[in-house]
């Protein structure tokens, strides 16, 4: 391969090796990017996708191997350097400034100037226009980025990367992990346009459908080694999945079989009862019931109030109307700590800001909520901690060299699993899962969906939130639909996906 002519390639990476303590993240990986192609980079959680991107963009230095840009060997020294070489990147973990406004984040470094100072008004109108044009969203760009949901933050990061002129190469590391169908379509439109202009795009995702919709070629890596590069048109989905997870596709089969309806479902007693529960400006008063052994899905578009509803139920916010009854007792004190003690937990959607404690170890992250529930003084012994951590590392197949690894060194999907483990470890009666499978690979996603249903079988109750409607439908016994911060409908039994989609759009 090395002797092949590489002059028609935008990028050619050859024999890349990268080791971290305890992990060989990349082993002799080759990767090519052509002019005007959309190249999907696929692999399970911890396969080394993000690491390959980081090596290419100068965040990490490879231990060995070379990178050719337009046929010339380069050594990328830093992300800034990569940018000056024409590489624009959206990293998996959004690395914008939550304290700055949306407009500032989009145009930072390229602010329109007037008389030697920033022309604020123009900055804001420009940013607003960019967001509207690129992703078709219309939001208040003068609010701080941190006040928006992960989905908006992700779109801002995308808009920022697309606004960089002269970019020859665009890298998108899981840009769609919290986007809904509509925004994803918008993004794809922009990608196709860039592609027609000759820009090469590297696209990472765990959504198989999206890969088939948009990509020209697929490169699969597994455990840090290259499996191969294929034309999308010649590779079937089953083959792709087999190549990614390295075993046959029974998992996927199972995934398609496990549906809420097929699982034996005994509806137990009422464990959660919300009556006219609401908070002004966040979510209008709603009723919700949850029974033991039941999974209730929350469906809704971005900004429909799913996360807000979950926050109220978990006690992150204090409602200003209505009542909440958990396990027959009316809730007076709204706080996460009180909720955990009542056996109600929430796995938040924002993994980075509200989920992981990045400098703590995997073990400490896993036992954190359990310990908080037990208080300051009933310290879980080291041995017990290790047992619990090992149990969940095994159960959720968390890729880490040891339980003492610092959690920020894990791949994105594996961090997500650590958060799930944290909540499972508290042995809760009611689980609220806000985007629990965000960034998780196909194989594990099926495992997690199965896990949710088996928890219900064991008599737990679960509220399942996902921007992926199919997933909600597959896992839920009942679906509540939200639209414009209001609960608009509830469905149980066999429902048509279209009905729910209309109802999400507020058309019913």
């Amino acid at each position: 391969m090395a002797d092949k002519d590489t002059s028609d390639l935008l990028i050619s990476m050859r024999g890349i090796n990268k080791a971290f303590p305890g992990v060989q993240a990349l082993e002799n990986v080759d990767f090519d990017l052509r002019y005007g192609e959309i190249h999907a980079l696929m692999g399970g959680n911890g396969a080394g996708k993000s690491t390959l991107i980081k090596v290419l963009t100068g965040v990490e230095r490879p231990d060995s191997g070379k990178i050719l840009l337009l046929g010339k060997e380069v050594s990328v020294k830093s992300p800034q350097h990569a940018q000056s070489l024409g590489i624009s990147t959206v990293y998996q973990e959004i690395n914008l400034c939550p304290n700055l406004t949306v407009a500032e984040n989009i145009l930072i470094g390229r602010e329109p100037m007037k008389w030697g100072s920033i022309h604020w008004k123009k900055l804001n109108t420009q940013a607003k226009e960019i967001l509207l044009r690129i992703l078709g969203i219309d939001i208040d760009v003068t609010r701080t980025l941190g006040s928006y949901s992960v989905a908006i933050q992700q779109m801002v990061a995308i808009a920022r990367s697309l606004e960089i002129e002269f970019a020859k190469i665009l890298i998108l590391d899981e840009p769609t992990s919290s986007l809904s169908t509509h925004e994803t379509e918008q993004l794809f439109g922009v990608m196709r346009k860039l592609k027609s202009e000759g820009v090469g795009i590297i696209f990472i995702t765990h959504f198989i459908d999206q890969v088939y919709k948009i990509s020209d070629r697929i490169t699969v890596i597994r455990n840090g080694t290259l499996v191969g590069t294929f034309d999308t048109s010649t590779l079937s989905r089953m083959e792709l999945i087999t190549k990614m997870i390295g075993r046959s596709i029974t998992v996927l089969d199972e995934m398609l079989k496990t549906k809420a309806e097929t699982v034996k479902h005994i509806r137990g007693e009422n464990v959660l009862q919300a009556r006219e529960l609401g908070q002004t400006g966040e979510i209008e008063p709603f009723d919700l019931d949850l029974h033991a052994g039941e999974v209730v899905g929350l469906a809704g578009l971005m900004g429909s109030g799913r996360t807000e509803a979950a926050s109220l139920l978990f006690g992150l916010e204090t409602p200003d109307s209505g009542s909440l009854t958990i396990a027959g007792k009316r809730v007076e004190k709204f706080s996460p700590n009180a909720s955990i003690k009542r056996g109600l937990v929430l796995s938040p959607e924002d993994r980075k800001a509200a989920g992981i404690v990045d400098d703590l170890s995997v073990r400490e992250n896993i036992i954190l909520a359990m310990q908080a529930g037990q208080g300051w003084f009933k310290y879980i012994s080291r041995q017990k901690q290790e047992e619990i951590a090992d149990k969940y590392i095994h159960l959720l197949d968390i890729a880490t060299p040891s339980a003492d690894q610092i959690v920020k060194n894990l791949s994105g999907g594996n961090q997500q699993k650590v958060i799930l483990a944290r909540w499972l470890a508290t042995n809760p009666q009611v689980l609220i899962l806000d985007e629990p499978t965000r960034g998780i690979d196909v194989g594990t996603k099926a495992e997690i969906q199965k896990l949710v249903l088996s928890l219900a079988e064991d008599g737990k109750a679960c509220i399942f939130i996902s921007s992926e409607l199919e997933e909600v439908m597959r896992c839920s016994h009942r679906i509540a639909v939200l639209c414009d911060r209001k609960k608009v409908a509830e469905y149980s039994g066999e429902v048509d996906q279209n009905v729910i989609m209309h109802s999400m759009a507020g058309e019913l």
Partner: protein
């Protein structure tokens, strides 16, 4: 996932928080060994040990005490600028409790006599100590309330007491510098039982702090709150109470340091006791590898070594005849050195060295 051999030895040592402070201390002591004759000689008198080395530790004891509390505060992502002032308040309270007659304008002769009686104390010593420490803890509690509940930035919140504290200390003694004649009180800072008594105090406070943080979940919670208070809150950690505890404990430590300092100079001097020691305490913690402004992982022992490092620099500079004003500049250099050591670049470089060594044994 592919796993390479996880060879911990070399890396574990260099990544440990104890590594850099210990290395720095060793370098300073090595410097002393070469330049100062008899630096390491230790004499035994009346069964007690004396010598330059012991002096370093003894003189470091106030900063060591402060650094224990400061470590917890900095680990939560805050800082406490008021510890020096709280030392002064503690000293004033203690002095007043032992001898309130000093403040009287007119005294009958039988009481007048008591003023400089080395055996007289108005309140028994144990009450003096307990009340002083309660007052100091309340000072810390006040800081904690401002930071955790009123949500004022730690730097600003504790600046209030830093400025007001010395005034309060003056108010307590009515503007008088009270001399302390009570003999047993002097033992706190000057007593000797094989080793200086203040070192036993340091050891005691250290052990207590260690048990509180490492034998309960409090240490984990402090680190977690410092690293990401939002995630911690979501996980059910009562972030406010954790901060309140850290600042209160820091106040308590400052109180003990105030007792030691006032017993050393036998007065309640509001304008000298603990002056600028908050900076030394912060520096000690930073040398110990807890990151100021970010918090997170901490090591109490590393902070203690940091405190000793600062004192060792001072002592060795004096030993080779450096002037007091030059000393400040040298301390500044040490700060730069330490900050460089902890910078990502240097860290990455050292990491690389150790990784390569491990890869090719």
């Amino acid at each position: 996932m592919k796993q390479t051999k996880f060879s911990p030895s070399l890396r574990k040592i260099t990544e440990s928080k104890l590594f850099f402070p210990t290395l720095t201390l060793a370098l300073i002591l090595l410097f002393d060994l070469i330049t100062v004759p008899n630096f390491f000689s230790i004499q035994i008198r009346n069964g007690n040990l004396y010598g330059s080395l012991i002096d370093i530790f003894r003189n470091a004891s106030a900063v060591m005490l402060l650094s224990i509390g400061m470590t917890l505060v900095i680990a939560t992502g805050g800082v406490d600028l008021s510890v020096g002032a709280v030392m002064a308040i503690a000293a004033s309270v203690a002095a007043l409790l032992m001898n309130p007659y000093v403040l009287a304008t007119e005294l009958p002769p039988h009481l007048m006599k008591l003023i400089n009686d080395p055996q007289f104390t108005y309140q028994p010593l144990w009450i003096v100590i307990i009340v002083t420490l309660i007052v100091a803890t309340i000072c810390g509690l006040w800081n904690g309330l401002l930071v955790a509940y009123v949500r004022i930035q730690p730097m600003v919140a504790t600046l209030i007491l830093m400025i007001a504290g010395r005034g309060i200390a003056q108010l307590i003694t009515n503007g008088v510098r009270i001399q302390i004649f009570y003999e047993p009180y002097a033992f706190i800072g000057q007593g000797w039982k094989i080793l200086p008594f203040s070192l036993y105090l340091v050891a005691f406070v250290f052990v207590i702090a260690w048990i509180i943080t490492r034998r309960t979940a409090i240490g984990l919670f402090i680190e977690s709150v410092g690293i990401n208070f939002r995630s911690s809150y979501f996980s059910g950690i009562d972030e406010k109470k954790i901060k309140l505890l850290a600042y209160s404990f820091c106040g308590l430590c400052a109180g003990i340091a105030g007792l030691v300092a006032s017993s050393n100079i036998k007065t309640s001097d509001a304008y000298n006791i603990g002056m600028t020691l908050e900076l030394d305490a912060i520096l000690a913690v930073v040398i110990g590898g807890t990151v100021m402004g970010i918090g997170g992982r901490f090591s109490l022992l590393a902070s203690l070594i940091g405190a000793v490092v600062i004192q060792a620099i001072t002592t060795s500079m004096y030993a080779i005849g450096v002037q007091a004003f030059a000393l400040q500049a040298i301390k500044g250099l040490v700060v730069i050195f330490v900050i460089l050591l902890y910078s990502e670049q240097v860290r990455g470089f050292i990491r690389k060295l150790t990784v390569q060594k491990e890869a090719k044994p």
